[in-house]
């Protein structure tokens, strides 16, 4: 049946028009045409500017007839557009008054904030034509991908093992052995590898369209171009980065990324996106017009009473997240990724900003965070906050959660790093962290799964560098080594940087194994940094945000060289999966003891049942007890972070159970870790001599 509403009612030049639907915002394919809809509270008028794909000059500009405006929304249907072959933008006319916060300029062609595909920058690192007045072009995306039976996996938080990775850096290095290095498609080729490693969730650094040329410059130190490589600066919230797709030049990034997600899901791996809603790529008062600034500056950005941009992000501007319109945009965006891309969860960059009021003050019950926590479409998505911002708001342990939000546990990272390098008096703190940080996350209210435990992430040293450098070495970033954190709590094991010293290299490998052992034995959700499993290095650079080169690309040659590490990671991950008692306790079960009288988790020292939490302690024993299919499951972990060997008295086991060694990081490979089920029975069941700076893991069975 042909519908009457598929006929135009108005005409502008050769274009047939009809009043549009105000929602959804953006460009939507409707029978016979495209429905365009864009919000602006302060604009007086708006024009739709149409381009043929790749052409510099527009071929048409259609003003939204005034009678088509509904409230603060400009909307119309344009019929008979060759939508496969066009790009579009908007021109907005309105007041220009800095103090009032208005930046309207009717000459600027603006990206649709709701553009689901963006053209114009289809190849990474290809220098754009800076004279082009319209760099980022909204395109019309199809939502016709064949998902077959796929949907988000909904793996329980307690079972999650997160692998944080950069889309480009993961395979860009020549050693990666993939067909199209540095792309979404290349990740698919590495899925078997990730499966072998055993992780079941990848967390991708930003994949929304961003400008790698933002603040780009040539480093005088290396003579190499520095890029906005990490991409924490969004151009378009609804569109995947075109140049991350091998098919970006065909404009098929949407399909390529969906194919990656589908393939991950087929292999039991979830996909979490690192999303950046705290600021945009438009920068401060000197930044470019890309979209929001020209569409409704005062709505989209937090402004001082004088009209300047607040800079809680450290990146020039702050998105006005708790303005109801912006809040809805964020919600629409996340819903789009959850529904159209089957994304399993989101990690919110500098999320404390999302809890700031429009004047910048922290709110008690931020409506945005509450909305996301209860949204029906996002109902099963993981929500993870980086619970701080660059404006000094630090909310680790106190991020508003409604039982839904988890946090990057920065305290976990710092305490475990200090414990690991042998700082005295950190045994107590380590016990808290291993226990899921009950001091930060109330067991009854938030539970251990609120804690995303990590020792390394993209921001800071890699694990290899954490045990190879005392100081950051960021000279290549061209900021006189002033950028990046100074609080690394790292130790170089005796020499700064690479060395041929076998003793030091053995110790470094051991420290890496100690670290991953502690991480995988901690309650909460472990997150590891990609490449740590084979000792990837950034040569001491702890802030490689601008390094699109060998500094930050994963060097896959190291996988062979350091197979010993990969093997250890793989086995310790399997171990975690096989032993529920070392994962988070069942959230509905608050009992502290099992029916055999053993606590579920208990702390020990040189003497069993006598933990030393004193100010000079560097030792910690942890006994986890659970009920497995074949009786009780005991896991005893001795952590000796002292530089001398210590004997740990072993806790008694019930009749019929014996201690077996699963891992001993002081032993040379292949005796450092055993296959699950092939643990070696201990001759001395009463005491274990734990080597200097070593972790020993025993199972009682």
């Amino acid at each position: 049946m042909i519908r009457v509403d598929t006929y135009p009612t108005h005409k502008y030049k050769e274009f047939n028009l009809r009043s549009g639907k105000p929602v959804p915002f953006g460009a939507t394919i409707v029978p016979g045409g495209i429905n365009f809809s864009v919000f602006s509270r302060h604009a007086k008028s708006c024009e739709l500017v149409l381009f043929k794909k790749y052409e510099k000059e527009p071929y048409a500009s259609i003003p939204f007839p005034d009678e088509f405006r509904i409230g603060n929304v400009f909307t119309m249907i344009v019929f008979d557009l060759d939508y496969e072959n066009i790009e579009y933008g908007f021109k907005m006319d309105g007041p220009f008054n800095f103090n009032e916060g208005h930046w309207f300029n009717k000459e600027k062609i603006l990206l649709d904030p709701y553009a689901k595909a963006i053209g114009g920058r289809d190849e990474w690192g290809k220098e754009p034509d800076w004279n082009n007045c319209f760099q980022y072009r909204s395109r019309i995306a199809f939502d016709d991908f064949d998902w077959e039976d796929d949907r988000p996996l909904e793996i329980p938080m307690r079972d999650l093992i997160i692998y944080e990775m950069h889309v480009r850096g993961f395979t860009r290095h020549s050693s990666s052995g993939v067909k199209y290095p540095g792309t979404f498609a290349a990740i698919r080729e590495k899925i078997p590898y990730l499966k072998e490693l055993g992780v079941n969730c990848v967390e991708l650094l930003p994949i929304y369209e961003f400008d790698e040329f933002e603040n780009s410059r040539i480093s005088p130190v290396t003579n190499e171009r520095l890029y906005n490589y990490w991409g924490y600066s969004t151009v378009g919230f609804f569109a995947p980065k075109a140049s991350y797709a091998a098919t970006g030049k065909y404009g098929m990034q949407v399909d390529e990324f969906k194919a990656v997600v589908k393939d991950f899901h087929k292999n039991g791996i979830e996909v979490i996106l690192d999303v950046v809603f705290n600021h945009t790529a438009e920068g401060n008062e000197n930044g470019p017009y890309i979209s929001f600034r020209g569409i409704d500056n005062k709505t989209y950005y937090m402004l001082t009473p004088e009209g300047y941009y607040y800079n809680f992000s450290g990146c020039g501007n702050t998105l006005n997240c708790n303005n109801p319109v912006v809040r809805n945009m964020i919600l629409d965006c996340l819903r789009c990724w959850a529904a159209e891309y089957h994304i399993d969860g989101f990690r919110f960059d500098l999320a404390a900003i999302l809890g700031r009021n429009q004047d910048g003050s922290p709110m008690h019950n931020p409506p945005l965070l509450e909305t996301l926590a209860f949204d029906p479409v996002l109902g099963k998505c993981k929500l993870i906050a980086e619970a701080w911002d660059a404006g000094g708001l630090y909310q680790v342990g106190a991020f508003p959660s409604w039982g839904r939000w988890a946090e990057w546990n920065g305290k976990y990272r710092d305490d475990i790093r200090k414990f690991l390098k042998g700082d005295e008096g950190f045994s107590g703190a380590a016990a808290q962290r291993l226990h899921g940080s009950p001091d930060l996350y109330n067991r009854h209210y938030r539970g251990t799964c609120a804690s995303i435990n990590f020792i390394t992430c993209h921001d800071g040293f890699t694990l290899k560098d954490l045990v190879s450098y005392n100081y950051k070495h960021n000279e290549a970033n061209d900021e006189n080594n002033n950028d990046g954190s100074n609080d690394n709590y790292s130790w170089n094991c005796g020499v700064e940087g690479e060395t041929d010293d076998d003793g030091i290299n053995f110790l470094r490998r051991k420290q890496i194994k100690n670290a991953i052992s502690i991480l995988m034995l901690s309650q909460g959700v472990p997150m590891m940094l990609s490449g740590d499993e084979f000792g990837n290095t950034q040569n001491g650079n702890n802030n490689a945000y601008c390094q699109d080169n060998e500094i930050s690309w994963l060097n896959w040659n190291l996988l062979n060289k350091n197979y010993e590490l990969f093997n250890y990671f793989k086995k310790i991950i399997v171990f975690r999966k096989n032993h529920p008692s070392i994962k988070s306790s069942e959230e509905e079960d608050y009992s502290t003891h099992l029916d055999n009288g053993y606590p579920k988790i208990s702390w020990h020292g040189i003497k069993a049942w006598e933990a030393d939490f004193s100010g000079t302690s560097r030792l910690l024993g942890m006994l986890c007890c659970g009920k497995g299919e074949n009786g009780y499951d005991f896991i005893y972990t001795a952590m000796n972070m002292h530089w001398e060997m210590h004997g740990f008295e072993l806790p008694n086991l019930p009749e019929g159970y014996k201690w077996h060694v699963f891992a001993n990081t002081d032993a040379k490979a292949p005796n450092d870790i055993w296959e699950a089920g092939k643990e070696v029975i201990l001759e001395n069941q009463n005491q274990f001599l734990v080597g200097p700076r070593s972790v020993v893991i025993l199972v009682g069975k």
């Binding site: 072959n85 991908f145 064949d146 091998a246 098929m252 399909d255 589908k262």
Partner: protein, 115 residues
């Protein structure tokens, strides 16, 4: 874009040469769609097709979906490597049976008939 069609062993073969893009894909779509009916056997030979745009891919997809809907059998033949890669990377490949040459494709299309 040149579209040649001929019958081989009771299978309609469409031989495309040139660029399958936004300008040429409507004609290809029109030409092939009218042939899709229950139990039809169709092979699209793309050996001489050196470029396929996203619009071209979508036409192939529409053809494949229509084929599945009415219960016909089709195969693609002679895809250039890059085009094959694009189809794979964008998840379009599971819509088609892809073969190296016409002979293989004929066997497979006839096999479908036997089922």
């Amino acid at each position: 874009m040149d579209i040649k069609k001929y019958l081989k062993d009771n299978v309609m073969v469409f031989e495309l040469s040139g660029k399958l893009d936004v300008n040429t894909s409507p004609a290809v779509q029109d030409e092939i769609m009218v042939q899709i009916e229950p139990d039809c056997r169709i092979i699209i030979d793309m050996e001489k097709c050196d470029y396929v745009s996203s619009a071209g891919l979508r036409v192939l997809m529409i053809i494949a979906k229509q084929m599945a809907k009415v219960g016909g059998f089709g195969a693609l033949v002679g895809l250039q490597e890059e085009i094959k890669d694009v189809m794979e990377m964008t998840g379009f490949d599971n819509l088609f049976i892809i073969h190296e040459n016409i002979e293989q494709a004929l066997v497979s299309v006839h096999k479908e008939e036997a089922i």
